[in-house]
């Protein structure tokens, strides 16, 4: 479903991704682990289409199409969703207004009919309830004054409303306490389906107890250094990233 071949990318003139290969078949959840600076977040931004990330070589094919040729909003319409590590705060935009604009923009681009107001509200209400999101929170400006957990739950709400085919979770576990982690993980697991694949980026194994991956890849110096089953995450938890060029751990 997602096929990344020999991906090289630069940020500010520095090469961060250095020949990365990764294939995720439909229905599978793959985890990317690795030390700080190994290129995990860069990979997520390159896939979502952020401007300052320059792809110098390689290809990314999504459902047979050249993902790198698409604008960020076209990628969203094509089903790519990035749950941000640090969701943006936008004062002056009510969360509900934002959700509705996003959902309708994506539906329009997919050739689907836009939601009517009552239908949209009903859908949001249902999904928000599962994520224990108060409707009052959705009337507030987007992410402004939200706690870390609220922001991440809001990301998962957006993910479930936009019905993506590729879910990229960038350090979704960072800043979450154990209860919030469970709510967020349940929300993600509920979206697992044979038509959907997921890329879960995390520094720690903890998240993978809740979202159990089909495959685990260890990223080092901008490429996949090792791949394995879920047991690889447990092994890393014990040994650390010392073998993968993390100087902090090695020292």
């Amino acid at each position: 479903m997602l096929e990344i071949k020999n991906l090289h990318a630069k940020v500010d003139g520095r090469e961060i991704l250095n020949g990365l290969d990764l294939t995720i078949p439909a229905g599978e959840v793959h985890a990317i682990m690795g030390p700080n600076g190994s290129g995990k977040s860069t990979l997520s931004y390159v896939l979502a289409g952020k401007d300052d990330y320059e792809v110098t070589d390689g290809s990314v094919t999504w459902k047979g199409e050249d993902l790198l040729a698409m604008e960020p909003d076209e990628r969203a319409a094509a089903g790519v969703f990035l749950a941000f590590q640090y969701p943006m705060e936008i004062p002056g935009v009510a969360t509900m207004t934002f959700l509705r604009s996003a959902v309708n923009a994506v539906r329009k681009a997919r050739g689907e009919e836009e939601y009517s107001t009552p239908d949209f509200l009903r859908t949001v209400k249902e999904k928000a309830k599962d994520l224990k999101i108060d409707m009052e929170m959705l009337r507030r400006p987007l992410n402004v004054g939200f706690s870390g957990g609220e922001k991440k739950r809001n990301e998962i709400l957006q993910m479930s409303l936009l019905e993506p085919g590729l879910c990229i979770l960038d350090e979704t576990d960072s800043g979450l306490d154990i209860d919030a982690l469970r709510i967020v993980s349940d929300g993600v697991n509920a979206l697992r389906s044979p038509e959907r694949c997921m890329l879960v980026i995390t520094h720690y194994q903890r998240l993978l107890n809740h979202i159990v991956p089909d495959r685990v890849h260890v990223l080092s110096k901008g490429r996949v250094a090792r791949s394995g089953g879920p047991e690889l995450a447990l092994e890393l938890e014990k040994s650390g990233y010392a073998d993968y060029g993390d100087e902090a751990t090695a020292a």
Partner: protein, 448 residues
């Protein structure tokens, strides 16, 4: 007229004197009003049109901007269709529930106005032109308020040439349930000048929301000079709101002058999006203790539009609070000016004054000039000011686009959000929504 006061006069400066000479006999008012006019035109003759070496007009050279002086626009009784209101003000403002008063060339169009409703609600209402023929004492006092603005040429010209407008007085304790909407609609096939003066007075404990909107009727823009004086009695409140959406040929000169009594609140809110050149002055003077003012608003400008907002707050007495927040969205070669002066007199201890102006520059060639001026003669005060200018945050833009919003829509949403923060100063939700709608129109995006 004696030309000796000023050495050099531009053609337009001379033409203004000629316009006064030609029109003076037909201008409304009794002998006391005529004396005010005479004194005001002398003030103007001595100063001429302000230019960039006049500090208060540093960034807006009116003498350079005005090349011609068109004749005073004649009153008209031509019908005004509902669609004309929508075209001029936008649907939301055209349909806003309010006591509506429509002014064309300064004259009240009673058939389009709800004067009876105002009077039933307890408001003293009169067309200025008629009231000037035998002005009551409170009206003369208000006209004097403006005359007291000494060397303000904009106001002096208005006093000399005012032909219309309205006078509104709220007797003690009267509170209106609906806003008063003064609609200034002007325009003609040929250029014209319009000088209007509105007078608002709230007696002790009275309160009202007064919305003034400015739009263009027909094709050509006008040279507009509109002044409103406001007198607030003790414990009274006025929310004074303005929408300026005039045609691009318009020169829009506007001054609000408010005297605020003890425990009173004067809130001014202005959104400017039209006219080639706009100068918006708001001067607030505290004359009683424990009063407050909030002056805020937004400017939306593109092309070669020039929009100047100049505020003066005079803390003459102790324990008053002033808040200022203006946001400017400037595209193409537009130029936005914000000048904010806060004067704290020696006796005005416990003054609390804050000022902020923020510009969002959408192009490399847009320009924002900000000039705060704090003159503080008291020692126990809290006063602060700030100004920022910046571009659209690329990270926010990416976030929205990653959620599927096409670039243009994402940009519009961010600009709306930037401007929308000022709308929070409005208590009235319907008016806030109406501003959101007209600013969305301006951005070319559908309103949510």
């Amino acid at each position: 007229m004696d030309l000796s006061v000023q050495q050099f006069r531009s053609e337009a400066e001379q033409a203004l004197l000629d316009l006064y000479e030609r029109s003076v006999d037909a201008l409304p008012g009794d002998a006391s009003v005529a004396a005010l006019r005479q004194s005001a035109i002398w003030t103007y003759a001595g100063l001429g049109l302000p230019h960039r070496r006049v500090e208060a007009w540093k960034y807006t050279d009116l003498r350079a901007a005005i090349a011609e002086i068109p004749p005073l626009l004649a009153e008209s009784d031509a019908p005004v269709e509902d669609t004309a209101f929508e075209a001029a003000l936008g649907k939301a403002f055209a349909q806003l529930p309010a006591y509506r008063v429509v002014l064309v060339a300064g004259a009240v169009r009673t058939e389009l106005s709800d004067v009876q409703g105002l009077r039933d609600a307890g408001v003293e209402f009169g067309a200025l032109a008629q009231m000037l023929e035998s002005p009551p004492e409170w009206l003369m006092a208000s006209l004097d308020t403006a005359s007291a603005c000494g060397d303000d040429v904009l106001i002096a010209l208005n006093t000399a040439l005012m032909t219309g407008g309205v006078a509104l007085r709220l007797p003690e304790g009267v509170t209106l349930q609906k806003p008063i909407h003064l609609i200034h609609l002007d325009g003609a096939d040929a250029p014209g000048s319009v000088y209007t003066r509105n007078v608002l007075v709230t007696e002790d404990g009275a309160s009202a929301t007064v919305l003034e909107s400015f739009g263009t009727l027909g094709r050509a823009g006008v040279q507009r000079n509109a002044v409103t004086t406001v007198s607030l009695g003790a414990k009274s409140a006025i929310h004074h709101i303005k929408l300026q959406r005039e045609a691009l040929e318009t020169i829009h000169l506007n001054a609000w002058v408010a005297n605020v009594g003890a425990d009173a609140r004067y809130n001014a809110f202005q959104v400017s999006m039209g006219a080639a050149l706009a100068r918006n002055q708001v001067s607030v003077r505290f004359v009683g203790k424990d009063a407050a003012t909030d002056i805020s608003g937004a400017t939306l400008a593109r092309g070669k539009q020039h929009c100047d907002t100049t505020l003066v707050v005079e803390h003459d007495v102790p324990a008053c609070e002033s808040r200022e927040l203006f946001k400017l969205v400037l595209d193409d070669e537009a130029r936005g000016v914000f000048q904010g002066k806060i004067v704290v007199a020696r006796d005005a201890q416990k003054t609390d004054g804050k000022q902020m102006s923020q510009a969002l520059l959408l192009s490399e060639t847009a320009e924002f000039d900000s000039k705060p001026e704090l003159e503080i003669y008291a020692d126990d005060v809290v006063c602060g000011h700030g100004a920022t200018s910046g571009q659209i945050d690329e990270d926010l833009l990416f976030y929205l686009r990653a959620r599927g919003l096409p670039e243009a829509q994402a940009r519009a949403l961010l600009i709306q959000a930037f401007v929308g923060e000022t709308f929070e100063a409005l208590d009235d939700e319907a008016i806030g929504d109406a501003f959101a709608a007209v600013s969305a129109d301006w951005l070319g995006a559908p309103a949510e």
